[in-house]
């Protein structure tokens, strides 16, 4: 059997026509056609399984509670946005703001401290260097549940339960293993010539880090930044344990994930499901926008992070 190298135009014509001759001979061709229909069918099916439930849920925000309970396949009778307004009143806006407040601090701090530690461990030999490195990295192996009980009391002792700064510090600490691990391998690959040139120019270590090495590590920072942003944005267990109001005067500072689950419980009793669906839709839209704008970086960032 032979593989004929086709001109791009011819190949395209063959793809659309589907009756091309040559190619891999008759057997290969018919196998290809059957498989192509079959595989494409499965690909389309799975794509529908992803998209349709999400659209269906978003449509639910425009239905009435009776419609939602009546039949799943009903179509909204009117396009009113009041469920979104009620969802906002129920606190979705606040949960959003709370999550943003925490992430605005926790992500940059994670990147800063993670890079600092990774940089020193990657490029400065000192006694105990390997030990400290493995000490950091080993934390990624343990399930967070292992620490949950004492962590709760630790944060309580610092009087930081249900506070933004408490959660920020915990997020930074739990993002450390992975960030150090990833940035460590990144800093090691950077050329040392630039570093030496900066030393000769008389720059201090601190200055070299911030003005020379950190800018050079930008691609790595973007990957790990995306990874940490998504991870912290979607975190549920830590806030569920650490961000509960401590007294009747202590205000609610739920994260978005917590808020949605809370809303789910409430709406179960109050039977106002459109509000719940509207809340979820509101929570999904920024993710969708960010994802579609940066999908290449997000996919590359998340997957390369896993394989490192």
């Amino acid at each position: 059997m032979t593989t004929v190298i086709k001109a791009p135009g011819e190949a395209a014509a063959e793809r659309s026509g589907g009756t091309g001759r040559a190619g891999r001979g008759q057997d290969g061709r018919s196998e290809g056609v059957v498989l192509n229909v079959f595989s494409h069918g499965f690909l389309v099916l799975w794509a529908l399984l992803i998209v349709l439930p999400l659209i269906w849920l978003a449509l639910g925000s425009f239905k009435t509670d009776a419609q939602i309970g009546g039949s799943a396949l009903s179509w909204p009778s009117q396009w009113h946005f009041d469920a979104f307004g009620r969802a906002w009143d129920k606190g979705i806006g606040d949960y959003f703001a709370n999550t943003l407040i925490v992430l605005v601090f926790s992500v940059p701090l994670t990147m800063l401290f993670g890079s600092m530690a990774a940089y020193v461990l990657a490029r400065y030999p000192f006694r105990g260097n390997r030990f400290v490195y493995y000490f950091f990295v080993s934390g990624a192996m343990f399930p967070v549940f292992l620490a949950l009980v004492p962590l709760f009391f630790m944060v309580k002792r610092f009087d930081m339960l249900n506070t933004y700064h408490g959660l920020i510090l915990v997020y930074v600490a739990y993002s450390m293993p992975f960030t150090v691990f990833f940035m460590h391998s990144f800093f090691r690959t950077l050329p040392s010539a630039v570093h030496e040139a900066a030393v000769i120019d008389g720059a201090s270590d601190t200055r070299i880090f911030f003005q020379v090495m950190l800018p050079m590590a930008k691609p790595g920072l973007i990957s790990v930044g995306i990874f940490n942003t998504l991870g912290q944005w979607n975190q549920y267990i830590l806030p569920a344990v650490l961000m509960q109001p401590q007294s009747s005067t202590d205000p609610e500072r739920y994260m978005l994930t917590q808020g949605l689950i809370q809303l789910q419980y409430q709406m179960g009793y109050e039977t106002d499901l459109p509000v719940l669906f509207a809340g979820v839709t509101v929570a999904m839209i920024p993710m969708l926008v960010v994802y579609l704008s940066f999908q290449r970086q997000i996919q590359a960032g998340l997957t390369s992070a896993t394989l490192k």
Binding site: M1, S39, H40, W46, V51, P53, P150, N234, T257, Q264
Partner: protein
């Protein structure tokens, strides 16, 4: 290591850069981990500052705890099925997206619209588990308002007067949860395997085609062995996810911290949280945490060992 000469103040610089990261990490991660081990030997309730050392009593109780044993069994079931199903689907889709097309100019090509599929399939990965819980709670609703029941009734597969109670049916609930995890994960591993497949030189595929290998043969004899490293890593990651399951189980199923109906969807994490936050049995909960840690570590080692193969350089 760098070639930077040792200079004055360098130790101060190193210490200064390590101080805050290490302090945070020690306080909030390492020390609680260590404490968990300690508390697991006590009858600490969490409320009172005092507690007694009870030796291995918590662990002995765990062995007899029917609920915990059931949860362990469910985790083990998930541990087998989540990685196997997710990886098989992801490999299949990745192969289709990258080499399932009719063959373009180079002889091997993905199907049309492969970039589109990657974008769609990966999207669930950026959604939080909380969103997934609400979404699938609605999909699995036990009346015709649920998407699954609604569609099945429309197709005439389910009697409209007796819709399936997906999440309240003891035999179904765990598999319903499993499907959510698969739905969530396939796209991620598709992209992961795609990246690995693209790093395999095209001529290897072409050589296989020239030798008359069919697509199935190409997949099993060429693609899979070359991707083995990524498959291994994926199995470990998915295994760790299957040991967790807390968010989905606790929010989608009935009972305090989920696990219902009648403990049929119970996993170790939900039992742990219930004992800690609801029953106030902190020491006992810590012992469960230790068991989860040990199992996770055994799992990682076993997976890496059992799937070890000769590494193929290309």
């Amino acid at each position: 290591m760098s070639h930077v000469a040792q200079g004055k103040g360098r130790n101060g610089f190193i210490a200064g850069f390590l101080l805050v990261p290490l302090a945070l990490y020690l306080t909030f991660v390492i020390w609680p981990y260590v404490q968990t081990f300690g508390y697991s030997f006590t009858n600490w309730t969490g409320q009172s500052p005092t507690f007694d050392f009870v030796g291995l009593d918590n662990y002995a109780l765990l062995l007899k705890d029917e609920v915990f044993r059931g949860a362990l069994w469910h985790n083990l079931l998930l541990l087998v099925f989540v990685p196997v199903i997710t990886i098989l689907l992801a490999l299949f889709f990745a192969f289709m997206v990258n080499a399932g097309g009719r063959g373009g100019a180079g002889g091997v090509a993905g199907v049309r619209g492969s970039a589109f599929y990657k974008i769609v399939y990966f999207f669930p990965q950026v959604l939080s588990l909380a969103i997934l819980a609400v979404l699938f709670g609605a999909v699995y609703r036990s009346d015709q308002g649920g998407l699954l029941n609604g569609v099945l009734v429309k197709l005439g597969l389910v009697d409209p007067t007796e819709p399936v109670e997906w999440l309240n049916e003891p035999r179904l609930v765990l598999w319903c949860l499993l499907l959510v995890v698969v739905w969530h994960g396939v796209g991620f591993y598709l992209v992961l395997f795609s990246a690995a497949m693209q790093s395999v030189p095209k001529d290897i595929y072409e050589a296989a085609l020239l030798d008359g290998a069919g697509r199935a043969q190409t997949f099993f004899k060429v693609t899979l062995p070359l991707l083995w490293d990524s498959v291994q890593t994926s199995a470990v990651y998915l295994g760790i996810a299957a040991m967790d399951m807390f968010v989905l189980v606790s929010t989608m199923t009935s009972g305090q911290f989920g696990g219902g109906p009648d403990h049929h969807s119970e996993v170790m994490a939900t039992v742990l949280m219930r004992n800690f936050l609801y029953f106030g049995k902190s020491g006992y909960a810590c012992a469960m945490g230790v068991v989860m840690l040990v199992l996770t570590m055994i799992l990682s080692v076993v997976t890496l060992r059992a799937t070890r193969r000769e590494r193929i350089e290309f």
